[in-house]
Amino acid sequence: MLKQVEGSAAVAEAIALCRPQVICAYPISPQTHIVEALGRRVDAGELTPCEFVNVESEFAAMSVAIGASATGARAYTATASQGLLFMAEAVYNAAGLGLPIVMTVANRAIGAPINIWNDHTDALSQRDCGWLQLFAEDNQEALDLHIQAFRLAEELSLPVMVCMDGFILTHAYERVDMPTQAQVDSYLPPYQPRQVLDPADPVSIGAMVGPEAFMEVRYLAHVKQEQALELIPAWADEFRRIFGRPSGGLVHEYRTGDADVIVVALGSVLGTIKDTVDEMRDQGHKIGVLGITCFRPWPSVAVRDALQRAKRVVVLEKSLAVGMGGIVGNNVSASFSGSPDCVHTVIAGLGGRSITRGSLHRVFEQALADSLEPLTFLDLDRALVDRVLERERVQRRSGPIAEGILKDLGVVAAKIG
């Protein structure tokens, strides 16, 4: 059924259709509307049997999800930003224990400086934790990926993180096609745990493993991620069969067939990139887009195949490995069969900075003209940076950077919009 709703409301409804049995969450922007909506459903008796557990922190949220999942319950939580960092220890445990928890990460920057806006730093900080990480391009895909996430998680006995851009998607009203309960039920059978805490058949979960087998347990985690690379496209095909639309999978290609330059990105910025690419195609430029839906496991073969004919690759990412450069860019380089010199990383949209068609045109035209640097920062205010560096050069007690830079800009608080 077509609906015009907020992204968070769409995701909450999709989660409810997946019949979760335990939902625990600690509120943090921009995830709050999702768990609020689910809380209202549980409270109204519209979602049974389901326990909604108010917890005292994100660490507790993931710990409760672990406990619930270990008892055989379908468990869900959501977080963002510092919340994800605060639960990090438990995030690793959920994966290490092989518990199929599904978690929404409403992507947001990490402080300091404190910033509530969107980028991908939070999710990418957890890229090596053993969870599957899926990134939604729009609210339809966010909704669909959650349904697929439960199926994948339970099939593999691994947790899945569904990443959707905070505010840009969570707070956007747009059209979604909400599936029926019957469709979701036919895609997602009741949870059959591989391991369960059952007093009638007691087991321990979470044994200490020494050097004699730790490597093997970790290797099995890697094997499972490789299995996921097979299962994700298969379950996306199954999804298409039941729900009648393509959604999910490893990567999405757009006008890449004859493209000299291919732009690689994750999440909602793909929409703006595709519009820009269409405009550039109209001008005769051979440019295409590769959207990464599945970031973990990293779909190395799919990326290599998609980029095979490209002369230049531009990785546009909302994350920064400080002291190194791009995170996604580094992954793409490892999968690119051409020269690594042809892979360019563009860091964009950090802390919610708008990524506009105008700026994308400039950077893509540079790529077409072979004049793009290996690492660039989209719309970086170089003069502002230089003022800070100059201040630090001439003055020992140069003061806090964030406050100084705001003073230079002449704003007393962060500008809206």
Binding site: A172, E174, D275, I416
Partner: protein, 197 residues
């Protein structure tokens, strides 16, 4: 694609206005996208919300930099925020005020635009009469429907009915309807004036 930017202050229902507009367009089988400018929400602080309407799916996620219409929920913003930034020459302006463009010191500025695309409407006064609170958003959507014809009053009313409980909805629908009729009268006056002039 038709792009609308709504300026107001925290607490005036700016974000809700954009959402309602997107629902109204959706009800007319069009694609639409509404989103706020994101920030730490504070009552009284300048707030911007955006709405795009198109016949095709909308993929663009940048803020609306070159709107086809601006709705200004609070005229005190005229001196604080670049509310008209990027407005297209054929663009529409709807301002919540009992005053005229001339009264607001915008007479010269208004000459750059099609006079039939500009209107002021006392939306807060209308809202006080029907809703009992100074929330001009629904009234302005009624005015927007009359000024631009991009959505019908019926769709605006249906969107309001979907969003609010029946009593609140009824007041807001009445306010939207009064503002719609007010703007229609203003446009007729403008058209008659243009013909006479």
């Amino acid at each position: 694609m038709f792009q609308i930017r709504i300026h107001g202050r925290g607490g005036q229902g700016v974000v809700t206005a954009a959402e309602l507009l997107s629902v109204a367009a959706f009800r007319e089988d069009r694609h639409s996208q509404a989103f706020p400018s994101f920030g730490s929400e504070r009552t009284g602080a300048p707030v911007v919300a955006f709405c795009r309407i198109d016949e095709r799916p909308i993929r663009l996620r940048e803020p609306i930099l070159a709107p086809d219409a601006v709705i200004i929920q609070d005229p005190t913003l005229l001196h604080q925020v670049d509310v008209f930034g990027g407005l297209q020459p054929a663009g529409y302006i709807l301002i919540n005020t009992a005053r005229t463009f001339e009264d607001l010191g915008l007479a010269e500025f208004a000459q750059k635009f099609n006079a039939a695309h500009l209107c002021t409407v006392p939306a807060t006064e209308i809202a006080m009469r029907h809703v009992g609170r100074p929330l001009p958003n629904a009234s302005l959507l009624g005015g927007f429907a009359a000024l631009t014809g991009r959505v019908s009053l019926e769709s605006v009313a249906a969107a309001i009915g979907e969003k609010f409980p029946p009593k609140v909805a009824a007041g807001n629908i009445a306010a939207a309807t009064e503002a719609y009729e007010f703007v229609q009268r203003e446009m007729k006056k403008e058209a008659a004036g243009a013909e006479a002039g």
